[in-house]
Symmetry: C2
């Protein structure tokens, strides 16, 4: 049974205005409203509508066509908007607990409007807030209330100017002084300045600062988090001993004030140590529930995963926005045609379909995976909160860590490449700032490098898989995990005997075909395992041996991740509860994402013998093109499902009415000084250059 | 014999400051000065130095750390700087004729400083200027003098709001009225507004406008160029009937004022028709030296190629700047290491080498090709100017058109992807605007879409190759071309019988191996030819049949182009005149670019049987990594050759002294208001939000 709207509330999913997109909408194989309801459910659609309507109706959030905000002004606006989000209070603590997914939805909705705002809000409430909550103890809970009333404003300070990925090498120190029961927080030099810290540049009053904990006896217990006030609450001026500032303009997200801080022997009370993982007694004795620093680090993996899971959702959101803009553009932009007199929409060209539709499919598939990983993460977190210390809980933590560590790279890169493709697919108009593809690219970009550089993170996932295989080889242990993501690897030697046996394009149009091929790609696991052993046998140390990511660990982690995303989406679209009218289109999306991704690995499929003749490669290519052509009439309806309202999407060429040129022309003329003569006109008219006049000076 | 500097003029290539890059520089296998002299020659080095020094010593060109220029201010600055370039008069007309390559060098030098400036200068002098020169006749030469004295300022107006690639569908009209001997230039509606025109937004006084020429009798003779005054020379206000304005902010190149113009029955004198290709007599008779519109269009291919050749050089320049920044960063940024106490430069990691060094090699290889194509183009142009109407001249035009039409996509995409990789490889610091990778990405971006969208252009090249093959198949004609680029295709059936016969990595380290494999990739030509015939046999029209770019025409054109670049570089580095001390490093660059590019086609090599066992793929991968590791100690010296002076490179993390953190920290503190409290501080301290206060309104 297809879900339908209760009580005739058609306002939730209103009709689109009539216009040039009508013909594609009329040709769609399914109802976009049905798919929207099926994908999100009425409750979530209503929640999103509440947020979007609030923003659209509030002048503080007004879009200013062609506005050229200064850095200062943009940061002010982002701060004011962030404050207003508190006034809207879209989600109470109770709502969050009941429906954690709404937290993710709120972030995505704010991000669809503007990532600077979303980041500012998330860094304060979630990153700073949950650092205090999860690393601190009861004595710190007073901060939580102050966070949610915005009495204080927070940031999370781990990275330093000269250290990011290698957190162990962080150089800020915290020396305990039992005489005053204080820690002395100190930056040895400017290279140890806390750096890149979001919200620190202009707004934060408090920071969770990571520093090496030194005891009076000289012993160092490694990195620990401290909560430190960096600005005065009344004046927003820096606290004594703190040099805090703004790191300046970035490629994107310039409404967010990233900053730096140098601490000059700043004294903070003993109870400012966030002491969940390790504490210091008044007399100066170090106590920890963990045996060693390594175990303590392991326990913090869970919170690292959170960041990556959230970034996955952020990247997918960007991909959705970009592909919505490009698909509507392509359905209305006409260029060339079979006859001189008739021009056809560029979406009718095979090349344009192949450039865009796989990214549309990827947006659906990655969105589904990202949501389900978010829910797995919630389960993990609830277990932790309930004090679950079971082996399953620990295994679940490791599995989710592995999934998030490859999921973030896959999603952020797919978004990066997809946005670039969308921008190019819209030609010159994609290069106009007002059409928003540039902002999306710039705002998505840090997703590729923060919370762990993508290439570095992939190593976490390949190491996880290699570890499982090593246990199996050495101890005969079965390969399995709580979410069953790795269970298929248990039969890996026999999988490698399988061969591609599809000979017709028609047989290839279900994602099951790609699923089987992807499982065979555990070929990469064997290759990497053998490579590692070979390196070790030749006397390389662990560090050198692992330096074989390029053609081994890296593609292994990515292929594994693509399989995870694909498998999850494949199962989703084949569930019995899928309304019959949606099965065809969802099945095609799944198959297109699958085959398009798989096509990146064709060389390996041939090399390892899974593919053997020319036909295999040809079938794969034909199937991709067939799916593109089957999906092109559904493309507009598919983006109607994922695109936010025009106000939020904020792109003249991507508006729902499809009036490409009218919208563009209108927006151009709305810009300031568009028809005005340049103020410096006499520099042309009067001050003529004397050719070669300064040449003699050369 | 290695070239040496005359007269002890060591100031031309001064020593670099001592610092953290010393150790890599000391380990380099060659002298960077020797390579610089070998690659560019003393005369060109001196010319570049003259330009760079002039800019560095002129306060008008001062870099303003962290400046946040408004659009208006940036456009003013670009105009003033453009004017100053006329005052410097770096190149006289005589110099240009004697050493045309210096024109390209001048553009690249200005572009290394700022592409907005370079574009502004080039659009006026070269694009507008050469349109008048090559499309006009003697009666228009008066404009040329006015261009070079900047009495007028020009732009080139072809594209309209609703038409770019399909120039035949341009809708601006020019109706001839014999009574007044005038053309009436008219835009039927805003969709036909001239759009995207560089320099038109604020500065141009004149435009070359393309319009459909209609005769009094009603006949239309297609697109013709007219020179039209759009602004008053004294006031810079629009001329009557011209609505001209600025299209607003773009993703990059915002110092350039792109604009639009709508013509409302603007009357221009008959002699404003640029009449080289077609003219109208006073009485209203159309005359043309060409038989039909198609032939007339063919004759203009040459000038289209110019744009593409120049864009190639622009893209390569961007790639050089980006890899210079990323390589120096990677040689000085340390993260992790084999032991706890020792951190190693990230350039020592295999992944980082593989991410950056192939792009460094690509910069060298593409630079060489781009220069030689420029010189071929000069030859073509000289032939045209001398009235050469030979078959060889026509063939040369077609060949260069095919090379430029794929060269521009290959170079612009390589730069696009390379800059993105460099930005990510520099982690967070690559995301800081001051480090310039963002500007490079944004300024390079239009290279992918203007002067013909890359995907559309590739079709020109594949059509050229398919046309040659068809002639051979039908008429037995030999495949050959003036520059010999396609001659190898003549033996294509026998090439397809060849197989990869290299079994050791060592044998793979010369670019000859990849060269042979690339020639075998004429597999794609056969596949595409057969696909096309198959489509035609199944009844598809020409238009539909050609709609098979994705897995056929597109990769065919790209692989062909990679082969051209590779072959040219391979021959260059194997010439006897290469100084012995440079042979090893140049050979490695050639081999790395070759194998890295080839690796994109491994799937086809297996599929078509050129590769047959697992070993082939493994050897290829190992060879790439071996070359990376052989080149990593040369990387810094290699970028020392191609990087401009620090002032021009303008990136704290890419400075020649390698003082990564000092430079970064210094630049951060130079920014305005960096330590200052935000002006809106009371919005935090006093105006506290009341949580949920506006919720009730929802």
């Amino acid at each position: 049974m297809a879900p339908t709207l209760k009580g005739g509330d058609a306002a939730l999913l209103p009709e689109f205005p009539r216009g040039p997109l009508d013909s594609y909408r009329a040709r769609a194989s399914f109802s976009w409203k049905e798919l929207a309801l099926f994908t999100e459910g009425e409750d979530m659609l209503r929640f999103k509508k509440t947020i979007f309507s609030a923003l659209e109706n509030d002048p503080l959030f007004a879009r200013s066509p062609g506005a050229h905000l200064s850095l200062e002004k943009y940061r002010e606006l982002s701060f004011l908007r962030c404050k207003r989000i508190f006034e809207y209070d879209f989600l109470s603590a109770g709502d969050m607990f009941e429906s954690p997914l709404k937290v993710s939805t709120l972030i995505q909705c704010l991000g669809m409007y503007d990532w600077s705002l979303a980041a500012k809000y998330v860094l304060h409430t979630l990153i700073f807030g949950s650092a205090v909550f999860s690393s601190g103890s009861e004595r710190h809970f007073t901060y939580i209330q102050k966070i949610f009333s915005m009495e204080i404003f927070g940031c999370f300070a781990l990275t330093e100017l000269s250290h990011g990925s290698n957190t162990k090498a962080i150089r800020t120190t915290a020396h305990y002084n039992p005489a005053t029961e204080e820690f002395i927080i100190h930056s040895p030099d400017f290279e140890a300045a806390k750096f890149w810290v979001g919200n620190m540049g202009k707004t934060a009053t408090h920071a969770v600062v990571f520093a090496q904990l030194h005891m009076p006896g000289g012993q160092c217990h490694g990195l620990h988090p401290f909560i430190i006030q960096i600005r005065d609450l009344k004046t927003l001026l820096p606290m004594p001993g703190v040099m805090v500032g703004d790191i300046g303009k970035k490629l994107g997200q310039n409404g967010l004030d990233n900053g730096f801080a140098v601490f000059h022997k700043v004294r903070v009370p003993r109870h400012n140590l966030l002491n969940r993982m390790g504490d210091v007694t008044p007399e100066g004795t170090y106590v920890s529930p963990f045996k060693d620093a390594r175990q303590r680090f392991g326990a913090s993996l869970g919170s690292l995963s959170w960041g990556r899971v959230v970034i996955m959702a952020m990247a997918v959101t960007n991909l959705k926005l970009a592909v919505s803009i490009a698909a509507r553009f392509s359905a209305t932009r006409r260029q060339f045609g079979p006859t001189e007199d008739e021009e056809i929409p560029v979406l009718e060209y095979q090349t344009q379909q192949w450039r865009l539709l796989p990214y549309l499919a990827a947006a659906y598939a990655l969105d589904h995976f990202s949501t389900s990983l978010f829910l797995d993460m919630v389960e993990l977190q609830r277990g932790l909160a309930a004090g679950d210390r079971s082996a399953r809980q620990a295994e679940l933590g490791r599995e989710i860590h592995a999934l998030a560590s490859a999921g973030k790279p896959l999603a952020s890169w797919t978004a990066q490449q997809g946005i670039q493709e969308c921008r190019e697919a819209c030609g010159g108009h994609g290069y106009l700032a007002m059409n928003r593809l540039g902002v999306l690219r710039d705002d998505n970009d840090p997703n590729c490098t923060y919370e762990g550089d993508n290439n570095v993170l992939l190593q976490q996932t390949s190491n996880y898989l290699l570890g499982l295989l090593a246990l199996r080889v050495q101890d005969g242990a079965r390969i399995r995990s709580p979410l069953k993501s790795v269970d298929f690897l248990d039969s890996y030697p026999s999988i490698l005997d399988q061969r591609f046996e599809v000979s017709s394009v028609a047989d290839c149009l279900d994602s099951a075909v790609a699923l089987a091929a992807y499982k065979w790609l555990c070929y990469l696991l064997r290759e990497t395992h053998e490579k590692l052993n070979q390196e070790k046998r030749s006397g390389s140390g662990d560090f050198e041996a692992r330096n074989c990511q390029v053609f081994h660990g890296r593609p292994l982690a990515l292929a594994f991740m693509e399989l995870m995303v694909l498998q999850s989406f494949h199962e989703h679209v084949h569930r019995p509860c899928v309304p019959p009218s949606l099965r065809a289109v969802l099945g095609r999306l799944s198959a297109l994402y699958a085959l398009w991704s798989l096509n990146r690995h064709t060389a390996l499929l041939y090399r390892g013998g899974y593919f053997s003749d020319e036909q295999a490669g040809r079938v794969l290519e034909s199937a991709i093109l067939t799916l593109c052509s089957q999906l092109k009439d559904d493309a507009v309806a598919l983006v109607d499902v994922i695109a936010p309202p025009d106000f939020v999407l904020d792109s003249p060429i991507g508006r729902a009415d499809g009036e490409l040129y009218k919208n563009l022309w209108g927006a151009i003329l709305q810009d300031s000084q568009v028809l005005e003569r340049a103020s410096w006109w006499p520099e042309f008219s009067v001050n003529k250059p004397v050719i070669g006049s300064v040449k003699s000076k050369l």
